[in-house]
């Protein structure tokens, strides 16, 4: 029997319940409804570093608080970037912030992607929709420390060409050595010359070496179920697969129970989990 991998949550440096003041630097439109918001600490002190895969609670004063994954570059100490899909009052308000506006930031919270385990191995990143956002820091980390990792394979699925995130970066990443980037959309149009089909259809074009790879997946839960099955079919061991889960995070530190998922708290025990640990719960639709 193999030992089941665990990921430890990184302790929060400051009071986890006290929002720190951050100033919006810029808000960039990624798609018709998705924006990246860049914030710096108000006091200019670089007190915030994060691990790829972690999230923050973003406080929009007078509106509410939102759990949002960090999508920026971990090498840019202090600066935080979040990619937000504007779907409701709080997210609309967040992406409507102007440069110079203040927001509150708690965290970062939770476990991160298993980059230590991935060192020296190929990294397979499978993302669906806005699930690319929490995986972007992994891509930055691998590409900036190329000698520490094997091949990088990114398989990315979006709903339509207009929903593809980070288009310019995808093209830049695809040109890097030892990197394969495949993008697909569920619904193509006349102007789209790329692949059409769900993200699992990309596996047949991916050059994978399952025995020396670690896979990291983020997207809608049903997509992750299909992708994990496909990865296993390709020959990846379950213990080499990691998934990022999403629930209604509130406190961020496992006190309130809003994000309870079976025996786990997504905010504290996740959001990144070894697949082996979460697999028995993925098929339980009641959860």
């Amino acid at each position: 029997m193999t030992a089941m991998a665990t990921l430890e949550a990184i302790p929060v440096a400051n009071d986890p319940m006290l929002p720190q003041a951050y100033i919006v630097q810029h808000v960039d439109k990624e798609t018709s409804d998705t924006f990246s918001i860049t914030v710096d600490p108000e006091d200019g002190v670089q007190h915030c570093s994060f691990k790829p895969g972690q999230f923050s609670m973003l406080w929009v004063f007078g509106v509410g608080e939102l759990p949002i994954s960090i999508s920026g570059d971990p090498a840019e100490r202090g600066r935080l970037v979040y990619t937000v899909r504007s779907v409701g009052k709080a997210t609309n308000s967040l992406v409507s912030r102007k440069p110079g506006d203040g927001i509150g930031v708690r965290g970062p919270f939770g476990t991160g992607w298993p980059l230590e385990i991935a060192r020296g191995r190929d990294v397979i990143v499978v993302a669906g929709g806005i699930g690319l956002a929490p995986l972007r820091p992994v891509i930055y980390e691998v590409l900036q420390n190329r000698e520490q990792y094997g091949r990088l394979v990114l398989l990315y699925g979006a709903r339509s060409p207009g929903d593809v995130l980070y288009r310019k970066e995808l093209a830049t990443w695809a040109r890097q050595r030892e990197t394969q980037v495949l993008t697909t959309v569920d619904y193509g149009g006349l102007s789209w010359h790329g692949h059409v089909g769900v993200v699992t259809t990309l596996f047949k074009y991916a050059r994978l070496h399952p025995s020396r790879s670690v896979a990291m997946i983020c997207g809608p839960e049903i997509m992750m179920r299909f992708v994990t099955r496909e990865l296993e079919l390709q020959g990846l061991k379950r213990e080499d697969i990691y998934v990022s889960m999403e629930r209604n995070m509130k406190c961020g530190v496992g006190f309130c129970g809003h994000c309870q998922y079976g025996p786990h708290f997504i905010c504290k025990d996740g959001p990144v989990f070894p697949y082996e640990r979460i697999r028995p719960l993925l098929d339980k639709y009641e959860l």
Partner: protein, 152 residues
């Protein structure tokens, strides 16, 4: 120079097929090339072939009335294009649009159906592979139908 038989034997779709059967398949095969932008087949036309794609890209398109075509899937190197030749009424149900210059091995459906009738072992090998292909594409289509990235 690569022979047709070797290309068929090395294509992922026919991986593991005994050489006797690849020999039978080769008798129904020909090399084809489609320029970018051309249609390999159109919905409603007789489906007399299927294709082992060697390079390029083919979009399966549906034409809603008075509207632009919808691409439901794209197929590239290593994939198989078409199974309408296998089942009556042997008519294409999509347009096959070469969006890039595409090289393929075309297999004559009538020729292969006759060989499968004569040699049921060959028929079983062919059907087994097409059944797996159909299941894989059915699963993908079901996932596509769920529209998982939409705002709920």
């Amino acid at each position: 120079m690569e022979t047709l038989e070797r290309i068929i034997a090395e294509h992922p779709f026919f991986a593991g097929l005994e050489s006797y059967y690849t020999g039978l398949l080769t008798g129904c095969a020909s090399n084809v090339r489609f320029p970018a932008g051309s249609y390999i087949f159109k919905e409603g036309e007789p489906a007399n072939h299927f294709y082992l794609i060697r390079s390029g890209k083919v979009a399966l398109e549906l034409f809603p009335p008075h509207d632009r075509p919808i691409t439901v899937e794209t197929l590239e190197q290593g994939e198989v294009l078409g199974w309408s030749w296998l089942l009556p009424p042997y008519v294409w149900t999509f347009h096959g649009h070469a969006t890039q210059e595409t090289r393929a091995i075309a297999l004559d459906g009538k020729c292969l159906r006759a060989k499968c009738e004569q040699n049921h072992d060959l028929g079983y090998e062919v059907w087994k592979r097409f059944a797996q292909l159909m299941v894989r594409r059915l699963h993908a289509t079901r996932l596509q139908l769920l529209d998982i990235y939409a705002v709920k």
